[in-house]
Symmetry: C2
Subunit: 462 residues, 2 copies
């Protein structure tokens, strides 16, 4: 492994961080909110900005029309392992605006707990993160006159609004988009100093159920004690979904849930995850999941069944003595391994129906179903990235899990047959999707350096 | 018992029903909505209208100022049993106005399922009902030149907005208001043909609880499976409040709940209550309360614990994978016999606290507490009324219960030491509190005749 190629690139990154940050500010000033049609032209403008920028640093970039916001595709001319980097240029809405300390689309540098932070909507999610990769390419290109290898980029502008165009576009352009491995920069550090490579994501199954008893709301004086109350029925059903040990009671629910390999368990143990801090920062002191599991197992490798919303009857101020006609809940399942979301949906619905008392009916709504996703980490790029990240950060990098669901990783796997490496530099306190979003300048600078090191590790070693 | 006094009164009522109805229309045209301060002067006008009307038929009536809407008090000059008749001249708001087929304060006669109906806000609740008694007095006075006995009237104008002035006013004017028995016309017939005298009302205890787990809403990907979910905790607690037989599990809850006397049970059986129809009209087919109880027992003589509202987490359209920080419910108890609402509140709260898992806290709000109310029906007026009503209506009258809570009856008992007879002629389909409220002309006419017969039974027999 040669260090001669990377050292001047790292030096270039550090020497130019001020102008690089100013350049990011230009992108952050474009209010590319994808959930609001009024900002459609701004999304277009952000795509144009990226196309122009990429064309200036050794890529051939173009904007691709969809029925929604455009995609940006860029290809470099290098050789070797073909990597496809993914990010999204659209951002979340800014409401409530009055909770921002400065205008969300006028980025500023402020002092944070670990040094300067870039404050703006999208600073972390995902403009700042996607630009870490672009800036690594820029510096490499500036220092060496070309990109280090065969690199493509793929940016979408609808991630914050459910990516309606993504799957059709990937399907139609599969040949162009398929590479040896995908790189995704939309995740975070573990703590402040440990970079993680996410190799497993939980899937998600969303269900909404509405239980109907009486045909209309009843007066609880006239009918109370005689008529079935769907809010009580719903509570009973929800309370039946877990046993006292925290296990989910839906038949065949645990089919396809693998036990963690001892190797992976060892890596996770090595992270010395601060379970007390993880709980403490949200006011909790005890793990409430399956008995006998660690916090990381609970959130990375075990499936869940959670109530995300519940409502029925009178919920306003004061009191109304109503026996509700209906009660509803939104319930989601996080899935792992080979759990089949469609079988679980069907078994869940059958179980709810079996628990319904006389005179009650139930209606279900589906809110998405995706299986868990586990990367095959045999590709040498995974180990390359781990070594490179460990060189850059105070703590060694590790293969980790992610409790959430990042659909793009599943799409790369299912549509294009590619594994994805999810590497990101966000911090838990970045306030993504919230007022006063920020990205540490340290995340930005060390993020750029991290990608330079990863590209160096992948290509120069070859 | 003489019939000579009553027959000409009944004839006078029937002969004058057209002008009597027109007179009611005058009162119905006054929009005396007590919940809306914009109608304060209209409430005043309704009180003035009543004062003037009562002064014209043998009473000495006056308007009494309160901090809210005025009371109307009237005394006649008769002798014998002192009865105090109660009603309220205020009405519910009319929203949504666009669901009315005719303007709510422009009363009209229309055809209903049992003959003509009077359509207007307040036609049934309570202007039409209170005027049944006034018109009985008017006819008696017109025919015999004086009232039949010692009659007082007491009208309030805040019943639909929680009666804030009522208890202070009753307390301050206890001597003037105390009579031998109170008469209240704010209830309904059983079916179409059976007049009931309500001798027991259930009390009401309202509780609102909010369970807090995490200090803020959490992402169900990041924390799901590890953090406690207060919506699940709430569901578990609610499901614990009843056992499989429908009994309420709160310690000492049934202390003071009497078994129904065999005499009363016999009267209720004699009503041939249409349990299937009662359930069927709201889309139900099975009694869902305590196993082994009849429908009338469930709603008149047994206590309840019901969820009136439940909410927590994300309840809007679509889906949000949030682990809620809080979940809340409004829970009410209907109470009977000697059940102590304060003890039940305290035992309920202790039970909820005992069911809270680690890291959860609970806050309670009180929404009123009133004990059940059972009349001592030894007073001969109860039997007088039952006989009189049975003479007027196709079916025999009975002493019945009421599943709801009518606070004024408790106030008469607790503040003035008087039992109350609740007699009313409303029908289930009167749409009180709803658009297109109506009162059957038959209810109005036979209601007036009923009160004339009751007064005859009480006084002329003496």
């Amino acid at each position: 492994m040669s260090k001669s190629k990377i050292d001047p690139v790292l030096a270039h990154i550090d020497a130019n961080i001020e102008s690089t940050t100013a350049h990011l500010f230009d992108l952050l000033r474009i209010p590319s909110v994808s959930t609001d049609p009024r900002f459609k032209s701004e999304c277009d403008r952000a795509a144009d900005w990226l196309v122009q920028d990429l064309n200036s640093i050794g890529f051939t970039a173009s904007k691709r029309v969809t029925t929604g916001n455009p995609m940006v595709i860029a290809h470099g001319r290098g050789t070797g392992t073909h990597v496809l980097f993914y990010g999204h240029y659209d951002v979340q809405p800014v409401d409530p605006l009055d909770l921002w300390d400065s205008p969300p689309f006028e980025p500023v540098l402020e002092q944070g707990d670990l040094g300067p932070v870039i404050r703006a909507r999208g600073a972390s999610d995902d403009k700042g993160q996607l630009m870490t990769f672009v800036e690594a390419c820029r510096s490499w290109n500036a220092v060496h006159g070309s990109l280090p290898g065969r690199i493509s980029l793929f940016f979408e502008g609808e991630e914050e609004s459910g990516s309606p165009s993504l799957v059709p576009f990937m399907t139609e352009n599969a040949a162009e988009l398929t590479a040896d491995i995908a790189l995704i920069c939309d995740t975070g550090l573990l703590g402040n100093d440990t970079p993680g490579i996410v190799t497993r994501l939980r899937g998600m199954l969303g269900e909404e159920l509405t239980i109907t008893g009486p045909s209309k709301d009843l007066h609880s004086g006239m009918y109370g004690g005689a008529a079935i109350n769907p809010a009580r029925v719903l509570a009973k059903i929800i309370s039946t979904l877990h046993d006292d040990a925290g296990h989910i009671t839906i038949p065949e629910f645990y089919d396809g849930v693998p036990e963690l390999s001892s190797e992976m368990a060892g890596q996770w143990d090595g992270l010395n995850f601060d379970s007390a801090g993880f709980l403490g920062q949200v006011g909790l002191s005890e793990l409430a999941g399956e008995k006998g599991r660690t916090a990381l197992e609970m959130i990375w490798s075990r499936p869940t069944c959670e109530v995300n919303g519940i409502w029925g009857g009178y919920t306003g101020a004061g009191f109304k003595t109503v026996l509700p006609s209906q009660a509803s809940a939104k319930i989601s399942f996080r899935l792992v391994g080979e759990q089949d979301p469609h079988k679980i949906r069907s078994n869940f619905r059958a179980m709810v129906r079996s628990l319904l008392p006389a005179d009650c009916s139930v209606e279900f709504k589906s809110h998405g179903a995706s299986a868990g996703c586990e990367m095959g980490i045999d590709s040498p790029s995974f180990e390359d990235a781990r070594v490179a990240l460990s060189d850059e950060w105070p703590e060694a990098s590790a293969f980790v899990g992610c409790g959430g669901s990042i659909p793009i990783a599943g799409h790369f796997k299912n549509i294009l047959g590619m594994d994805a490496m999810l590497i990101g530099f966000a911090r838990d306190n970045d306030a993504i999707h919230s007022p006063n979003e920020k990205y540490d300048l340290r995340s930005f600078q060390k993020g750029i350096r991290s990608w330079a090191r990863i590209l160096n590790q992948i290509y120069i070693k070859e």
